[in-house]
Symmetry: C3
Subunit: 410 residues, 3 copies
């Protein structure tokens, strides 16, 4: 048994490497090195320098946004402050600044005629057809009313619900002062993989600078105060239009951090987008509006409300980004990939050498060594003869040499 | 020095390629080509056609959602409109439609007995034990009160807080009309990598179609109006149950875009899920409810409020997706990977050839050329000699051997 | 034609494999096997066991969060319940608990003097300069008023807006009871790729346990009830400070699921972070506060409001995670990568064998077979004569041929 085990061990620790053909040709040699150089350049410039393949990447950015709007506006002879025009009030990453409103005051539950022309009627029959439709300010009762006058034009179907019904064709003068409003954005992010936390402005910024600056991509890139007018200008939006019918604006905060350098260089970039850009040419659903009500109760316990149809500019703060830091594992993997890829030059050069180069046949003869099947096939006779000699010569020792071939085929 | 430099340059531009053994055997040749074919098919069908590995992929989809609910309901003999039952009102991607409420009107700060049976008491001592517990409608004072009658059953601990205390066992008739409510969803997305912005309905849809259609996966796949009843039906939810205790529903909007085709083909798919599916069999926290209050002030300045325990259907619009577009870099990388992988057929065929094929020993002798250590090791003496001979013998016929070299360069 | 087609087919089904050199050397053989072993260990331990490269991974986790706060507090001699201190009320993943407030009651639209010292004035001229500034409680009219007394110190610029103006230096006693408040978190997640839905607590938890437990990472890891005091303690936050000026706290729910095991083992981990950690040392914008108003209407129709500047603890529930499950495709790809990488041991061993091993020249002669260009190049004359000769010739001068061997081993 012992000799067999020894033989096995000997066979196991045999080293196997590819046999190579070395071609001393200037032309192919130079082509080979140029192709290799190109591959190396690709890896250095693109894979490592541009794609940062030697870094571990954290794409699971965690973000918290706090916003604060400042400014005073005028609407319907009332001074509007933050508590009046910002909804919701908590300073989250998504908020709306109301710029225009249709206010329907003192609504109570009851019966009244509709307002819109599509509810005009001449008899109860017209209205009975509309019972159950979900398109009015209240439930259609089936009666045809004329509360307001005697002309035919003012007959409308009666509804049950909050009365009087809203007439959203009456609109005030939009609050143009929104142009001068400022939005303060406090954005804290964290890359959990690296345990790095950053804020969108440096701690070194002092109070007086922050109270006086306005963000500007060139002059004040770290100022966290954004003037609404500047954002609109940047997006080529008309103040007139957006304050009248509302709109949606995205403030993108993009973090791309290379943590191989100092953390202090990890700062965000700001981009502005019109979120409803895709619907620019759509005939429906222009702008942005929503309805809300303020509820009151009179001394006798009757509930009444003021309905607001609010046209607003909605801001969404969208935070994205990733961070990379040198790490041995991705570095090694890509280094190995680079070295392996350099070998691909051979594929390209072989094609040239064996087909288009003068002396191609000679190279073929050197590169390929033939062995035909054991049973002679017709036509390969001569070929076979030659290899027969070599095979015979080899056969003496072939028994040992191939024993561990399976283990070696990786 | 010059000759040494020349020698170095000469050596540098030498080309080196692997020496190959060509086996003229039908069986192994066919197996080899079949395995190669399978690998090629895998790459074409799976890697390129299914996985779209030749495309650059943008997974950082940016999305903005605007919603608008329409419909009129009845609750406690009151007509409820959007401003009454949608919370929050701004039409964000997450909103609740209130379907049932426990209303506790005219609460003021003061002292009153608790309602629930777990606060029943026979003496002040029973209540003193409960001081500091966080489980009632107010702070337990330690007194045992009987406001409502004389039977033992109505003695309850006294609380300080908003009085009278809420009795949430009294519930109204749920607002079944929610079934006919419609949700209009306006979803704009952007793939920042490709600068492509899309909306969830084409701009060509006209106003009258959108005002009359209801989403249907087959007949109206582009209609952005979703009927609540249809969604419930699709999820096999009972209207009766969900309107009574509330629930959470997800509307998934999935964008998968192949930007190699026209952008117009980049359209979303909608899926509906019950978000609280995981808690279906849980005994606690069924449904969905929350409390809010409307605050009033009487003429003498006293603040009072109406507390609402609202059971609601919460909708969450969840947008996901990615886009791909042809790009040279991933295409080349995967093409190279494909070609390299075709070479793996050799590993498989070598195993067959060197172990299970007749004439395996002969192939081994051809494939492996042996060289032993410089210091002769016992037993490898003859072997070394042999390989020397074999090389000489082989050289004679090397000219013919390379005929099919191009096809073989994988 | 037929013979040519036959010839082509014959050529096509020829099998080609690399010719190898087998080196019977203990030292290199052992090094080779050790390097191969290291590579295999790397793949088993890191790639498969740690990185789970054999699994298909779903990173598009879908999540829905429902929260419910419980607890009673005292602020300004009023008992505060959930409807009073939680904003917004719907129990979303982001909510604020108000802990301190500056309340300005009974504001109406009108004219009144400012409060802050920076608006102090001695003449109307001082105030005219400030017209148009966006920094006060209302629009500066340009007048200098003294409503409150006769001392110089009380002269202030007049504003138009909600009057009286807010004096945010007056602050109540923060609501320290927040320490005992509890947050119930119901988090349902779904991995759409695998169709697996999970909740953050098992369905088997019974009502009484959930009503009495408090989350503890060791003793109650499945309890979904979080005590605010525990969270603050875990983050080393002072209750005194955070209730006074507010703050932002993140509750991270992290799901990492190996779906090769039973789904029941797929449970979340909770982490707590201070979201504004990055601004800890910043001199501006400490804490967290926002303004909101409650609107009232008197019998004569005048609107008035109570303005609240609320200092709050904002909680953000951040859900992240991924799931993996065995899949044939990534398994095969990585298995092939593993086998291919084992071959890299050759690169390393070739460098040793051809440069640092005794008998390196002999190995070089065996491994490299030379063929020079067809047109005789100076110095390669003898080499060219016959490849038979060249090999012999090479063996003599193999000193040069291997000189650049390191560079060639890619």
């Amino acid at each position: 048994m012992a000799p067999r085990v020894l033989g096995f061990i000997k066979g196991f620790f045999v080293y196997e490497t590819a046999k190579s053909v070395v071609v001393k040709s200037w032309s192919v040699g130079i082509i080979n090195r140029i192709v290799q150089l190109l591959i190396i350049l690709y890896f250095i410039c693109w894979v490592f320098m541009h794609e940062k393949a030697h870094q571990l990447r954290d794409t699971g950015i965690e973000s918290a946004v706090m916003t604060k709007v400042k400014g005073l506006g005028n609407f319907n002879d009332r001074v509007m402050d933050v508590a009046d025009y910002v909804i919701p009030s908590q300073g989250a990453s998504s908020f709306s600044i109301i710029t225009n409103m249709v206010v329907t005051a003192n609504q109570t539950q009851g019966y009244c005629p509709e307002i819109e022309k599509k509810f005009s009627c001449t008899s109860d029959g017209d209205c009975e057809k509309k019972i159950g439709l979900n398109i009015g300010n209240g439930m259609i009762t089936g009666k045809c009313l004329n509360d307001n006058g005697t002309s035919n034009d003012t007959w409308r179907c009666e509804i049950q619900g909050w009365c009087p019904a809203e007439d959203d064709t009456i609109s005030g003068k939009p609050m143009h002062e929104v142009e001068n409003f400022t939005i303060f954005i406090k954005n804290s992010i964290r890359f959990p993989l690296f345990g790095v936390a950053r804020g969108n402005f440096p701690s070194s910024l002092n109070r007086s600078y922050i109270q006086s600056c306005n963000y500007d991509p060139v002059r004040h890139p770290f100022c966290p105060i954004f003037k609404v007018g500047d954002i609109l200008k940047h997006l080529n939006q008309s103040l007139e239009n957006i304050t009248k019918i509302g709109g949606e604006i995205g403030i993108n905060i993009n973090w791309k951090c290379n943590l191989d350098y100092d953390e202090e260089n990890c700062n965000p970039k700001y981009f502005f987008t019109r979120l409803d850009a895709a619907f620019e040419h759509s005939s429906v659903s222009k702008g942005y509006n929503f309805r809300f009500a303020k509820y009151y109760q009179s001394e006798d316990g009757t509930e009444y409300r003021t309905l607001h149809k609010a046209y607003a500019i909605r801001f969404e703060i969208i935070v994205s980004g990733n961070a990379g830091k040198f790490n041995v594992v991705p570095f090694l993997i890509n280094l190995v990939a680079a070295f392996t890829s350099v070998g691909l030059a051979t594929v390209f050069c072989d094609i040239i050498l064996l087909n288009f180069h003068k002396g191609a046949d000679e190279y073929k003869a050197k590169k390929f060594e033939e062995v035909s099947g054991v049973v002679p096939e017709s036509g390969s006779n001569i070929l076979y003869k030659g290899s027969q000699v070599s095979i015979k010569a080899l056969e003496k020792n072939s028994n040992d040499s191939g024993t561990f071939s399976i283990g070696r085929q990786e």
